[in-house]
């Protein structure tokens, strides 16, 4: 199943205003890996995720998903393989009911309504949100919105999941539930976050990003106790590891 590997080589991205948000970024992720992308605000995590799905196009470097180079031509194909959730779920839930929202993707791929229905039900079940099917978005809590936005990605049956700060602004209980759900997914995952406790729980591997580039890449367990590194990147040891020695 080597076709889900992700190869990023020497990627650069500069915003039109001259801000260089990604700067010589390279990583290699293999199938089924669960990777935390950590870094302070402004480190370039969101920009990197946007580059990986072609919302932004890099000025330099390349992204290879499976065996396919990401380019304007291959985008439609690659987007079927990659599901992404945004930092703000309201931007992603643009329909007037949960069902319609989750069905949006499958319908765009011209599946028939029966198949669409099966996909919607399946995706909602995976995030434990089937009971929300007929709710309007304004009647969802933060945690429910998050779950549904993950379902909108899952309904396209992606191989890779990219998530931008999935636990931000969740109360402790919703956060727990979400972590439980994330742990069950067998997908290749990249989770941008500064919730290091969650990273520790869900991801075996952690990539630390600072000023648009990789400053550390290793086993989450090791990185989370490297105080010097964390300090340098304005991060803090996960709560659960605080007070412990390396």
């Amino acid at each position: 199943m080597s076709h889900h590997k992700i190869d990023i080589k020497d990627l650069d991205y500069m915003y039109p205003d001259g801000k260089k948000a990604v700067n010589g970024f390279s990583i290699n992720i293999t199938h089924g890996e669960s990777v935390a992308l950590v870094g302070a605000n402004g480190a370039g995590k969101s920009t990197l995720l946007s580059l990986m799905v072609g919302i932004l196009m890099p000025q330099k470097g390349e992204i290879i998903i499976g065996d396919t180079h990401l380019s304007k031509e291959t985008l439609p194909l690659l987007r079927q393989k990659i599901g992404m959730t945004f930092q703000n779920a309201d931007d992603q839930l643009f329909m007037n009911s949960v069902y319609e929202d989750v069905a949006f993707g499958p319908r765009n791929y011209k599946l028939n309504e029966e198949e669409v229905d099966a996909r919607v039900i399946g995706a909602l079940k995976k995030v434990d949100a089937l009971h929300l099917k007929d709710r309007p978005p304004y009647k969802l809590s933060g945690g429910e919105k998050r779950a549904v936005s993950i379902a909108t990605a899952l309904s396209l049956d992606p191989d890779i999941l990219l998530m931008d700060e999935p636990t931000a602004a969740l109360d402790p209980k919703s956060r727990r539930r979400l972590i439980g759900i994330l742990k069950e997914f067998a997908h290749t995952k990249i989770i941008a976050t500064h919730d290091l406790d969650m990273a520790l729980d869900v991801c075996d591997r952690t990539i630390v990003m600072n000023q648009g580039t990789v400053v550390a890449d290793g086993r989450t367990k090791d990185i989370m106790v490297n105080d010097e590194l964390l300090e340098k990147c304005s991060l803090e040891r996960p709560l659960i590891l605080q007070g412990q020695n390396n």
Binding site: F94, E113, P136, P137
Partner: protein
């Protein structure tokens, strides 16, 4: 602030109400839309002195309210807000049209008062029927029906998107308003030197949101063509409703009951 929360409540109430499952809710949205439009057209087609006729037309919303189990209070709240303009314009009828048209309990009543009342009843009925339509159908189904009735797709999509983000933006507007009030207590509105920044900031955020929403759409395969689910299946009940409603309208519009009354007198 209170008007933002009030408006938000009004929308959400109807939105939630439209998700109920009464007999009325289960009828075909397209047929309900058509019946409502015909009803409104018939109501306004009454001449300005045909007070009796428009009163009779109240039969439709009255029966619909019961069938849909909609509290009259919710309807009245909305109708009241809609009336000032009609009343403001209509109040000139009694002023300019003073010819006594009839006597009631010995008091002469001018044509102006009759046409004024007719106008008000018309206002109440047309507005009520529209609200009953949304309350029993919901915006998504109305949008579907608009597609079936061949309205341009982009317009229909636009309605759905606008509707979706009204809630989000009203909440943002409310929080801006509250934040402003906290720092400028006792002001009725927003001072002119912050007009631009205040709405402008919200506008910029909205603009960026629009772009992110687009990104979210293309990530899920959006290619410019908005695909909606399958249309509502129109059952016998819906056709029956259409038939009964139209027959009822006709009976009222052709003043059958008045005719019978005339024969009896």
């Amino acid at each position: 602030m209170s008007n933002i929360t009030g408006a938000l409540y009004k929308i959400r109430y109807l939105d939630e109400f439209s998700r109920k499952k009464t007999l009325m809710h289960r009828l075909s949205p397209t047929i309900k839309l058509i019946v409502t439009l015909i009803y409104i057209l018939l109501v306004v087609s009454f001449g300005k002195y045909q007070l009796g006729g428009v009163i009779a037309m109240s039969a439709y919303p009255l029966i619909m309210l019961s069938l849909a189990e909609m509290p009259a209070k919710e309807l009245i709240k909305r109708v009241v807000v809609a009336m000032p303009f009609v009343m403001g314009v209509g109040i000139f009828n009694p002023v300019f049209d003073r010819d006594i048209m009839t006597y009631f309990l010995g008091i002469g009543i001018s044509g102006g008062w009759i046409s004024f009342l007719t106008l008000i009843v018309k206002g109440v009925l047309t507005v009520s029927s529209a609200i009953i339509l949304v309350g029993t159908t919901g915006i998504e189904n109305i949008a579907h029906s608009m597609r079936i009735l061949k309205m341009p797709k982009i317009f229909v999509v636009l309605i759905l998107l606008t509707y979706r983000y009204i809630s989000v933006l009203m909440e943002e507007a409310a929080s801006i308003w509250t934040a402003y009030k906290l720092r400028a207590p006792g002001q009725k509105g927003i001072r002119h030197d912050v007009w631009g920044p205040l709405l402008g900031q919200l506008l910029l955020r909205t603009y960026d949101r629009g772009i992110r929403v687009y990104d979210a759409m293309i990530l899920r395969g959006f290619d410019g063509d908005f695909r909606m689910g399958t249309a509502f299946v129109t059952g016998i009940g819906s056709y029956l409703f259409l038939l009964i409603a139209l027959a009822g309208f006709l009976i009222i519009r052709l003043s059958v009951i008045t005719m019978i009354l005339d024969l009896l007198i």
